[in-house]
C-alpha cells in the first residue's frame, strides 16, 4: 500500500480501475488533495484507519456491508455510475464533492471581515472583497510579492488561512501606507492576517463555536515557494479585492473524518464591540 501522509487530505478511490485512478490522480493534485486507490475492502479499511483528513470515497461495486460498519462516514461515500468514468465527468464529480465540503457561507464572512479590517488597518485604503470561488492558491497565477500563512481552529475543525499581496499594486494605489522595509511590511501583513482571522472567528464565537488562532508567518514569495507546505487543508475558499491587491484563502477540515463545517446559521459579527471589563 502506498504511504499515507497523516497531514494531507485524501480522496479515496475503491475498485475504480487504472484509467479512472490515473484521471483522479491528475484531477485532485491542483485541488490541494491527494488521491489513494484501493481494490479490496481490507485495504480500504486500512487506508481509512491511517487517513486523518478525508474528502470522500469514490467507489464502484457493492460496499453496503462495509458502509454499514462505517456509519460515521455516511457523508463521505460517492457511488460512481458507468456514465461517470470520463475525465470530464470525474472532474465535475470532484468539484461537486469539494463544493459540498466548502461551506460557501464562509466567503461572505471572509469578505466582510477583510473589508472591515482593511479600512481600520490601512487608513484610507477602502477595499471591497468578493468571492473568487472554491479553488486553491496553487490554481492561481496571482502576481504576489508576499504571502502570509496562519493556522486557526473552530472547534473541532482545523483551518488555515493563506493571504497573498501584490505590494506593487498596493503602493501604487495607496502610496506612503506600507513601509519600504521588507521586515516591516511582513510585520504589518502578519498583523493584518491576525486581525482578519480574529474577526472571522468572532462570527464563530457569536454562534458558540470555540476558536483559537495560531501565530501568522509572513514570507516573500521566494521564501514561500521554498517553504514546506505542511498540512494541505481543503476546501479552500478564496476572496479578492476589486483592485487585485489581495487574495485570501481559507479552508477547514474535520480532524476525525467528520462532515463539512456547517455555517448555515452563522452570521457576520462586526468588530465594533464594547470593551469587556471583568
Amino acid at each position: 500500500m502506498a504511504f499515507i501522509f497523516s497531514t494531507s487530505t485524501y480522496l479515496v478511490g475503491y475498485n475504480l480501475g487504472d484509467e479512472i485512478n490515473s484521471h483522479l490522480q491528475s484531477i485532485v493534485k491542483p485541488k490541494g488533495l491527494r488521491y489513494h486507490a484501493v481494490d479490496t475492502e481490507e485495504d480500504l479499511a486500512k487506508a481509512l484507519g491511517k487517513i486523518c483528513y478525508l474528502a470522500g470515497i469514490l467507489h464502484t461495486g457493492d460496499l453496503d456491508e462495509f458502509k454499514a460498519q462505517s456509519s460515521q462516514l455516511d457523508h463521505a461515500f460517492y457511488s460512481l455510475t458507468p456514465s461517470q468514468n470520463t475525465k470530464a465527468s470525474l472532474e465535475g464529480l470532484t468539484l461537486e464533492i469539494l463544493t459540498k465540503l466548502s461551506s460557501p457561507d464562509l466567503t461572505e464572512i471572509m469578505s466582510l471581515s477583510a473589508s472591515e479590517i482593511a479600512l481600520s488597518f490601512f487608513p484610507g485604503a477602502e477595499m471591497t472583497f468578493k468571492d473568487i470561488g472554491q479553488r486553491t492558491p496553487q490554481e492561481d497565477d496571482f502576481d504576489a510579492q508576499f504571502a502570509v500563512r496562519c493556522e486557526t481552529e473552530s472547534s473541532p475543525y482545523k483551518g488555515r488561512c493563506e493571504l497573498f499581496v501584490n505590494t506593487d499594486k498596493f503602493n501604487a494605489a495607496h502610496p506612503d501606507t506600507l513601509s519600504s522595509d521588507i521586515e516591516k511590511v511582513k510585520d504589518a501583513l502578519r498583523e493584518y492576517t491576525n486581525q482578519f482571522i480574529g474577526l472571522v472567528n468572532r462570527s464563530f464565537e457569536a454562534s458558540d463555536i470555540s476558536t483559537k488562532i495560531g501565530i501568522p508567518s509572513a514570507y516573500t514569495m521566494e521564501d514561500f515557494a521554498a517553504f514546506p507546505k505542511g498540512t494541505l487543508y481543503i476546501p479552500y475558499l478564496g476572496i479578492s479585492d476589486s483592485q487585485g491587491i489581495f487574495q485570501i484563502y481559507m479552508g477547514y477540515v474535520h480532524p476525525e473524518k467528520g462532515p463539512a463545517i456547517d455555517l448555515t446559521n452563522i452570521e457576520y459579527h462586526s468588530g465594533d464591540d464594547e470593551i469587556d471589563f471583568f
Binding site: 502578519r190 464565537e205 476558536t211
Partner: protein
Amino acid sequence: MAKILVVDDSETLRTQLKKILEAKGHEIVEAENGVVGLEQFSKHSDLGLVLCDVNMPEMDGLTMCERLASDHSDRKVPTFMLTTESSKEMKTRGKAAGVMAWVTKPFVEEKLLKAVDKVTS
C-alpha cells in the same frame, strides 16, 4: 498620565499604540513577547497599566499575566488583554489571572482611550 507597558509581537501594533497613547501624554514601554514583558515589568516599578497581546512567540500573554499574578502579587497593576482571540475559555483564564479588561482587535481608538483613561486618571 501613566507609564504603560505594551506587550505585543507586532511592531506595527506597538507603533500604532505608542502613537495614540503618547499623543495623550502617556509614556510607553515596549516588549515583543511575554518573556520581555516580565523583564520590563520588573524593571519599571511605576507602571500604571499593562496592555498585552495573547498569541506571541516565546511566552504568550495569558501565561505572562499568570506569572505576574503569582510572582508579583504585591503589585496590582491593571492589565488589559488586547487580542484577536475572543473565546470564552481564554477570557475566563484571563479573568482568573487578574486581567481587568478584554479588548478585541480591531479596536476602536476612542473606546480604548476611554478605557485607558478610566484606569489611569
